[in-house]
Symmetry: C2
Subunit: 293 residues, 2 copies
């Protein structure tokens, strides 16, 4: 298939490369110029990348970026034609997704929200999990592209439901990690070594994919961004906005939002979100582990 | 060995039975009379059970119950002798544990805090995980008893550290479940079926032992108590008290405490703690799944 891939961040770059590898004809565009994908045609604007393609696949940072790509100057909208499919793998607002889809359909094109979960390693190896808001028929048409980038494709429901599921998952990641961070901090101040807590977590029902992945980095105080704090903070605000729109009360998440707000204010936005542990430690006057720099 | 087992609740009854099965001479006592363990000698008081035994193993509901057993009328203290070991598998205050241990040692006896993790199924099959606050030497002396009841024995540190680790683990369970409940509620109100969220959780790094265990019950709205809400609420207060003693700030847990307080006030104390989902649903005006009664 002919695909325009828009957004070459940590995930997007790897996903576009896998589309090329699977034999698709790929054009790429990135807001910040200079990023390339071998074997893909670089385009100067989203509209230029999208013109004449079968699908336009977006993987950018937030709702505003998707809106700009689709409907801004040099955007995709004017080149949309009947039969084209717009797919959004960004994590954005479910209600904005409904609006975007409606406007795309007014041009005769189709729309699927297909955010994904998985680390950059999964993006590299083409084994992402996609949660899709679209009809079965539309998903079938996209199957060759999903196959190139993902391993598990789950249809969650119609338009917007992929985004709803994604924020519900990230909400859980935020609270699982917050629990790990609060537990580690309390245990450390009570004199328990963090290695013992990690060992117990793994040996019990407390075990989780999140902590398994994060623990080695946390124990070494390595906050190199895998999922930058500012992006998790953005997602948390997205969850709370969506919750407000449909009148859902999320008490623990509201508290966690405050922690991320303070963390970002303290300049931690470009670290991994795991760095929120540092705030709890500071408030407690304890270090889970001395930085070995 | 000769063991007094004090406290025949969901876990204690199964643990005492495994001690008998392993060939130990067991005396049992329970605050509410009438509970028995086949092959064990029933005693009328903690002191009567403990007299002349090698070890006194406690598994009761809270700090006050442990204090009463050890130092109350008809308690264990008067019959403590040099060489006896008191072991506490309850989940209680780490700082109270230090005080209790000191008073036990004043009688020439030893003290180990050894709370455990694992379901009643693990208690049945003798495959609990114990986290122990005691010296290596003391743990070695208790090994035949640990072997009868558990599979993994982790030395966390000295006296009180077993309890510190246990509350740090339960803190994580409370926050993992709260995340699941908030995520489910938000997704449901956004029109996503809870089955899809559970499927995605399992296929992603969001997966956890907690949700794997709870999800089938939650999807069926079965809140039959495995870990009663009032006990989790008790543990949460324990965590916050311990945190206050050592000046640790646990923002998300403080919020979760409020939810459990309301849940107990609304008469949900004897349900499983999973029933806290019901409060979020009520506040959101949404049901994750209709009760199929």
């Amino acid at each position: 298939m002919r695909v325009a891939f828009l957004g070459l961040g940590i995930m997007g770059q790897r996903m576009a490369a896998n589309l090329v590898k699977a034999g698709h004809e790929v054009a790429v565009w990135n807001r910040t110029p200079g990023k390339q994908v071998e074997g893909a045609r670089p385009a100067a604007t989203p509209g230029e990348a999208a013109a004449g393609m079968d699908a336009v696949w977006m993987c950018v940072s937030d709702t505003a970026a998707v809106e700009e790509i689709l409907f801004g100057a040099d955007g995709v909208e004017p080149v949309l034609t009947a039969g084209m499919i717009v797919v959004d793998s960004s994590t954005i607002s479910p209600s904005a997704t409904l609006r975007f889809a409606e406007r795309v359909r007014a041009r005769g094109a189709d729309y699927a929200d297909a955010p994904m979960t998985g680390s950059k390693i999964a993006a590299d190896s083409g084994s992402l999990t996609f949660m899709v808001g679209a009809s079965e028929e539309l998903i079938a048409r996209l199957q060759p592209l999903f196959d190139a980038m993902g391993k598990i494709i789950i249809r969650v429901g119609d338009t917007g439901k992929g985004q709803a599921a994604k924020i519900a998952l990230n909400l859980q990641i935020a609270l699982i990690y917050e629990g790990f961070a609060e537990g580690l901090t309390l245990a450390a101040k009570l004199g328990v070594e963090p290695e013992r807590i990690v060992e117990l977590v793994k040996a019990s029902m407390v075990r989780s994919g999140v902590v398994e992945y994060k623990a080695p980095f946390v124990l070494n105080r390595d906050y190199t961004p895998n999922f930058p704090l500012r992006l998790m903070y953005k997602d948390i605000r997205l969850m709370l906005e969506a919750a407000k729109e449909v009148r859902v009360k999320l008490p623990a998440l509201e508290t966690v939002e405050e922690i991320y707000a303070i963390a970002e204010e303290e300049g931690m936005g470009d670290l991994d979100y795991a760095a929120t542990l540092g705030l709890l430690e500071k408030w407690a006057g304890v270090a889970v582990k001395k930085t070995t720099a």
